[in-house]
Amino acid sequence: MADKRVPRFIFLLIVLCVMIFVCLAWSPRSARAADQENCMLCHRYSGLGCFDKETSAKRIFYVSEGLYKNTVHNSVLCTHCHTDVTEVPHKPAKKVNCGTQCHVKDPSTGKDFSHKIVVDEFKKSVHGKSNLFTFDQGQPRCKYCHTNPLYSPLKGILAQKPGCESESLARCLACHEKSPWADRFLKHFASRTAPRWDKKQIVDLCNNCHADKKMMQSFGLESTDNFKQTFHWRNVKYEADDAADCLRCHGPAKLGLSAHMIKASNDPESPLFQEHRTKVCGQPGCHEGANKYFASGAVHGAGVKTALLEQKLIEGGEDLTPSEKTKLKAEIKDTNMTKLQLTIIWAIKSFYKVMIILVGGFMFLHQVLDLRITLKERREGRH
């Protein structure tokens, strides 16, 4: 009698197919939606990468699907940003231009969305002017600050957990039918109501470069390494609402500026140009009513600037116009005054340090002796 049982390997094959089908059917829809171009065929492998021929830097091309679907760009197709990738396998892709017009519609205008406005603003800023320095020299690009993290968690007394509360989402879903869409937009709005970076992170981000004395010296700038000795930093450190981080003065949102519009402090368009400073210091929530004397002087930094300006004056020599020379001399005078002021503050600190050691030391010794003699008197019954 012939054996009518299904061969074992066919049975296993059927089970495997069913499992694959089930897995595919149950995979998150949104993740698959983001990969309509099948880029994850290769980029899902965590080992995908190479060493850059020129810089020898390690470059990773792996994309985590799970993370990507939680980023602000989760509905953007890969080729919307990597516009030079037209075939698979593709040649090394160029760096993404964040000013590219992508195919997402701007819900406010109905037009194709783009970061071009921001990119154009940035190009006019001190960080975006390519003639000043190159990326290799430390010029920040979009990704330097915009690490494109997951949606920022909500903060506050009642909502300490990341994400949005289910009740909020439920209110959206009362009118908007698609849950993923509502979830994405709610997170987007909620995360944009507060800055993506907290104040401490902003200071640390800026200080990555600006506190580096050597790097700043090469650009003729003062380092900001002593910002953390100021009262502004203390407010930032302890998360005060009105604390002045770097942007509060260099790109104050309350005066209609942003991080993308930072100008050099000697640029007449800069909020920190001498004539505009009272406005910056006197912003609502800061030193309202600040006068020009308060708004003068250095908030941080007193290092290399005098030497650099003097060097500039000497090197410029006869090429400098009389007005340029006068301006430089005035700047040198100002920086010298700042140096003198900081020396006075240093002297006061030193005086107090000595006083604390001398007075505190004397008092301590005195009381130790008093303790000794009092104990002796008590032993002898004289106290």
Binding site: A290, F294, Q341, H366
Partner: protein, 263 residues
């Protein structure tokens, strides 16, 4: 003899060293001082500690810390002004200020006392109403409070002052507060809390009273005057009542120079 936890001994005789007004002035100043140091020094805590202590409430805690610090500072200024006015307009206050003025004898007594404490001399100086330690503390306290208050006012109204002045005041305010905290913890806390015979506390901050035995040991010249005055009163040479009464509770007006007690 020290009393335990503020309880007055029934068999002890007490002397009114501080009047009720002076007790209140002292209490306002020390309470404000301790809380000002606590709220002020919070701004020097390492970030990790702050995060561990307050977590997500750090911003709110520091916001209210600032407000509390300002209210306490205003109270301290008011208390200090009250004390100065009291010293200027009342007889007892003026006498207290006069007794607080350092004299050459204080320097001599300081040297003698240090020699005695070092065991290089057997002579223990006899102190009057205020000894050199109390005078030093009072004078330093007066100067320190003035410096702290002036710099604090400048920092509070920073927008009206040049930047450099504000920075200078910030530095001085912090340094002076540190110096004051250290000296008070070493000098004053030892004298009123840690000193054998006074532990856990000298209760005169509560009722202004000091035992006659204590007075005899720490301020012998004043004690001698008080005793002499009593004898004179007993003999009927003076009509004034006794300078202190057994069991305490009466805050007489004691005139240090004349050695008389006025109700």
């Amino acid at each position: 003899m020290a009393t335990k936890w503020g309880r007055r001994a029934e068999d002890q005789e007490y002397f009114a060293r501080l009047s009720r007004v002076e007790v209140w002035q002292h209490n306002i100043v020390w309470i404000c001082f301790v809380l000002l140091v606590a709220t002020g020094m919070m701004s020097l805590l390492p970030t990790d500690w702050v995060t561990a202590l307050f977590g997500g409430y750090t911003g709110q805690v520091y916001h209210y810390r600032h407000i509390v610090h300002l209210i306490l500072a205003a109270t301290l200024i008011a208390g200090s002004l009250w004390h100065l006015t009291y010293g200027a307009v009342t007889k007892r206050g003026r006498q207290m200020l006069l007794d607080m003025i350092p004299k050459p004898v204080d320097a001599i007594q300081m040297k003698q006392n240090i020699m005695y404490m070092l065991g290089m001399s057997d002579f223990k100086p006899k102190f009057d109403r205020f000894d050199y330690r109390e005078k030093m503390e009072y004078i330093f306290g007066l100067i320190g409070t003035t410096v702290i208050c002036v710099t604090g006012v400048v920092m509070t109204f920073a927008q009206f002052f040049p930047r450099f002045v504000v920075d200078l005041c910030g530095t001085v305010h912090l340094c002076e507060a540190t110096l004051a905290s250290i000296t008070i913890s070493i000098w004053h806390f030892y004298a009123i809390h840690w000193k054998p015979g006074k532990f856990p506390q000298d209760t005169s901050w509560i009722d202004g009273l000091m035992s006659m035995e204590h007075l005899k040991h720490e301020h012998p010249l004043q004690w001698e005057r008080v005793m002499k005055e009593r004898e004179m009163a007993k003999e009927g040479m003076k009509g004034a009542s006794s300078p202190s009464s057994s069991g305490g509770g009466q805050h007489g007006h004691y005139n240090n120079t004349l050695g008389t007690e006025e109700e």
